[in-house]
């Protein structure tokens, strides 16, 4: 396949394909006409003007300031952000659980292997909504109500939320971005330098410690210098609930754990398959060369496992993003919950479903194209390293 094939005959335009697709589009257009006719029969004209109207309902949580007086457009953004945060957090948790369980499933200890098999089979074979509901009920019953919240200093945990101290927001804090970026740049430079030195001389330089110190020092130094207010707000109990500080709701945590466990099981299978696919002869050869076990893992096993594992992982991540929509069942105000409520109020299922699907599609396609690019980058780099 290295040689180029003999010259192809000039390609004819794809009349058949165009015809079929044209027919399909015409069919869709007909259905669209039906939709408009059906809607007009009830005195509704399709359109997106309603997005500017007042939403009139509240959300259980929101990352941006939101109240029931804001518009539908804003509540959709708030729901979308909630979905994104949930997806990112679950992605991280599922990866950690999946990699750990994947490793456990190939350990020599039979107990570990059995536990891994039990875990994977249990979560592969149960509907996720069932897992979510059971976990939710156990958590809400198991944790104390807010008045008997477990407290560790300024930290409180009840079946409502996890309450944390937080730095009060102030517009002047935007200045902190500058030293933040600067310190990251410095840390990046240090990492590059360390790698260069290592490649040239084989000498190891402390990387993580120096980079972390640089970032932190840059932050605090500038804050002190510019007198940017950093007021820490501590949650205190008033009448019904804690006030002040930051909170992480229990429903968020439960959905997070559900998705982490559910997709963790699938990722564990992927990781297991990846590890077992590495030919044992390579490990033997590396050992024979006198490399330490960790070096074998880091430089022989891991790169190959990654190459096998990343494409199915991307698939898992996309599935995970879509599965965040089960959060609606336990009261996490994600995109699906918000769009369902709006449909119910405005009687605009068509317009809202189009928006919702487009947003999910954007998230999933964006995520998979980003990860594909990272994957290609990784491959190119390892190819360079080999050559």
């Amino acid at each position: 396949m290295q040689q180029s094939p003999p010259a192809l005959p000039a390609r004819r335009p794809d009349w058949l394909g165009a015809g079929i697709v044209g027919l399909a589009l015409a069919g869709l257009a007909l259905l669209g006409v039906n939709i408009i006719l059906n809607m007009q029969a009830t005195g509704v004209t399709p359109g997106y003007g309603f997005l500017a109207q007042t939403a009139g309902f509240d959300l259980s949580e929101s990352l941006i300031p939101y109240s029931s007086g804001d518009s539908y457009a804003r509540v959709i953004v708030a729901g979308l952000l909630n979905t994104v945060v949930l997806a990112l957090a679950s992605l991280l948790l599922a990866t950690i659980i999946g990699v750990l369980m994947g490793l456990v499933s190939v350990t020599p200890s039979p107990a570990g292997r059995w536990v891994a098999i039990l875990y994977v089979e249990l979560f592969r074979n149960l509907p996720k909504i069932l897992v979510l509901l059971v976990l939710y009920v156990i958590t809400v019953r198991g944790l104390p109500p807010v008045r008997q919240a477990l407290s560790w200093g300024p930290l409180h945990l009840s079946n409502r939320s996890l309450y944390l101290p937080a730095i009060e927001a102030d517009p002047r804090q935007l200045w902190l971005l500058a030293p933040f970026l600067l310190s990251i740049l410095a840390a990046w430079w240090w990492v590059r330098r360390a790698r260069r030195i290592q490649r040239a001389t084989g000498r190891e330089t402390p990387v993580v410690l120096v980079a972390a110190t640089l970032i932190l020092a840059g932050q605090l130094g500038f804050a002190a210098l510019a007198e940017v207010p950093l007021v820490v707000s501590v949650p205190t109990f008033v009448r019904f609930d804690f006030d002040g500080g930051a909170r992480v709701s229990v429903q968020f945590l439960v959905v997070l754990v559900t998705l982490g466990l559910y997709h963790g099981a699938q990722i564990a299978e992927v990781v297991r398959g990846g590890i077992l696919a590495v030919p044992t002869g390579q490990v033997e050869a590396a050992r024979a060369l006198g490399l330490a076990p960790w070096t074998v893992t880091r430089f022989v096993v891991l790169p190959q496992v990654l190459r096998i594992v990343i494409p199915p992982m991307i698939n898992q991540y996309v599935n995970l993003i879509k599965n965040t929509s089960i959060a609606i069942a336990v009261g996490y105000s994600d995109l699906m919950s918000v769009s369902g409520t709006i449909i119910n109020q405005t009687f605009r299922p068509l317009e809202m479903m189009l928006i919702t699907m487009a947003l999910y599609l954007g998230l999933c396609l964006g995520a998979s194209s980003l990860m594909n690019r990272l994957n290609i980058g990784l491959r190119n780099r390892s190819a360079r390293n080999v050559s």
Partner: protein
Amino acid sequence: MIPAAPPPPQRRDLLRQWAGTPLTALVSAVSAALAIWAIWIVLDWAVLSASPPQRPMHACAETAGACWRFYVEKSRFMLFGTYPYQDHWRPGLASMLLLALSGVVGLRITGRLDRITPRVLVALWIATIPAAFLLMGGGWAGLDRVDMSRWNGLPVLLILSVIAIALAFPLGVTLAVLRHQDRWPVLRRAAVVYIETMRGVPMVTVLFVGVFVLPLTLPPGTRISPVMATLVALILFHASYFAEDVRGGLQSLPEAQTEAAKALGLTWSQTMGLVLLPQALSRSLPALVNSVIGAYKDTSLVVVLGIHDLTSTARMAFSEPGWGQYALEAYAFVGIWFLLSCAFLSWIGRELHKGQSARSH
């Protein structure tokens, strides 16, 4: 002649060297403890502090564990819902038919029941699907007509999963072929757009479209029952997943096969239908089984549309006044059903993996 390969080295010893670190040992110890604890809780609930089935309902009020009498009273309701009580044999038979057919297909693709040819299988499908609908719907041979709103529980779960999967499969294969070929670039592009769109949105949104938007697309005055609308939405959704699995199989075939087929003078459709597809399908079977498990489990999401599959009838069983405290029993019923049926599907998947790795050695 290639000399016989030496016996493979013991993988276990090698893995111990790099995976048997104290960290993983700790992880396995902790997870073993967790597993034992979980098993103890389940055992205590289901057996040790449970109320046995021969004791009456009111005895359950004092027990902390499972109430087995609940299953005596409510099992038939959870399985068949509001289907007329005296006619329960009909959904029962329809469910058995669909289950038996799924079982036969499952055993067949693991290489058992060799005598049943694919042709016979397809014929069985074509016979069983309408048979299930006719049995459930009635209106012939003295069977009472039963409205679709009374189709509940297990038969609806099976109709919406087994039939949706069966009908989505040919559509998925078609889409995979369209995306794989380069003879008709416009069709390829259309297939790409369709597959990527369907795979990029949550199933709930597709179901919503099926139930809210699909009826709007019909000419004024016509109606489609929610079960049928959901079935259509599910077929369109699952097809995109199957398409990607089959495409994976097509891509794994060496290019030389196409060229060889061409050299033999086979037409495009002969090459595809006789050479490429049969191999691609058998290669993509493990991935397909995975997708089928996912599709089957996700069927329980139809609850949001007011369709009463098994999960939903289980909820109804404990919404009757006075039955509210038996929610756990009802959910356990559903959970065990899914565990058992999915375990069968997973087993097929593992058998296929075994078969493939055996073949590749």
